[in-house]
Amino acid sequence: MGNCFQSQNSDDISLLRGSDAPDNGHGQEPLPQPVGPPPPYQEAEVVPVYHPSPNVSRPASQLTEEEQIKIAQRLGLIHHLPMGVYDGTSKKAKECVICMCEFTFGDTLRFLPCMHAYHKDCIDDWLMRSFTCPSCMEPVDAALLSTYETS
C-alpha cells in the first residue's frame, strides 16, 4: 500500500515502469511523509519519459493509450531477448557500436536475433525507441516471432 502515493493517477504508469522500477520498502516500512507539499522538482523526477518513436519524447502521463500498449509490449519483448556476461572470448564483437566502448570482462550484453550484441543498457534504451537492430536495421520483433515459429 505504501507505493500508492507514488503513482497516484493510474495503473498504466506502474505497468509502464516494468521491472526497472525500484522496489521501495515492500509496503512494510512506513514511507517518510513529506511535510507540506513537496518541492515541484520532485514531481518531475518521478515521471518517466518514453519515446513512442525515435524523435518523440513524452512523459508517461501524456502517452496515448495506443502508445502505452506499444511500450508495454516492447518492455515485455525486450525481456525475452537473451542476455549474457562478456567473458572476453568473443572474437567477433569487441566494441559496443552504441557507446563505442570496448566490451570488458563482466559487462552485461544483450544479443539480438540477428546475432548482433550490445551492452544491455545501450541497446535497451534504443529498443524502447525503435524495435530494430542498429547495425543491420532488421526489425527485432519479426525475427523474434520467426524464432518462435521454427523452434
Partner: protein
C-alpha cells in the same frame, strides 16, 4: 568539457586522426557538441569546386537521436531548402545509433553527387530539376560559383 559522453570524445578524436576525404569537422571550442563542417563539392557534380559550410549539433540524446545538420552556405539542390535544412532519411526516421558523424557527413556528400528530385524538400528546385535537368544543373553551378567559392565560414 565535463559530462561529455565517451562516444562523442572518441568520434571527435577519430575524425581528426582519420578525416574523411573532402570533409572537415571541427568541434566548437565553447561547445564540444557543436561542429563546424566543411564539405568540398564532389567532383563531376554541379557543386564541384565549391566549399560548403555546415553546422552539425549533437543533441543531448545523441546517439539515440540523430545529429542536427544544416547547410550554412546557400546551395541549389532539390533536397536542401533555402534555410539549409536537409531532407535525408538517416537524419529522420532511418537514424540508427550505429551511424556516426562520419557516416552522416558521407551521406550528405553522396546527396550532393546524387540529388533526388522525387523526394524534394524545396519543391521549386525539384520541379525545375525534373522539367529541365540541364538548366537546373547549370543553375546549381551558378549558385556554387556565387555562394560557395572564396567564401569564409559564416557565424
Amino acid at each position: 568539457m565535463a559530462g561529455l559522453p565517451r562516444r562523442i570524445i572518441k568520434e571527435t578524436q577519430r575524425l581528426q586522426a582519420d578525416p574523411v576525404p573532402g570533409i572537415s569537422a571541427i568541434p566548437d571550442e565553447a561547445n564540444a557538441r557543436h561542429f563546424k563542417v566543411e564539405v568540398a563539392g564532389p567532383v563531376k557534380s554541379p557543386y564541384e569546386g565549391g566549399t560548403f559550410h555546415l553546422e552539425l549539433f549533437l543533441p543531448e540524446e545523441y546517439p539515440m537521436s540523430a545529429p542536427k545538420v544544416r547547410f550554412m552556405t546557400r546551395i541549389y539542390h532539390p533536397n536542401i531548402d533555402k534555410l539549409g535544412r536537409i531532407c535525408l532519411d538517416i537524419l529522420k526516421d532511418k537514424w540508427s545509433p550505429a551511424l556516426q558523424i562520419r557516416t552522416v557527413l558521407l551521406s550528405i556528400q553522396a546527396l550532393l553527387s546524387a540529388p533526388n528530385p522525387d523526394d524534394p524538400l524545396d519543391t521549386n528546385v525539384a520541379e525545375a530539376w525534373k522539367k529541365d535537368e540541364e538548366s537546373a544543373i547549370e543553375e546549381a553551378r551558378q549558385f556554387t560559383r556565387q555562394h560557395a567559392m572564396g567564401n569564409k565560414p559564416q557565424q
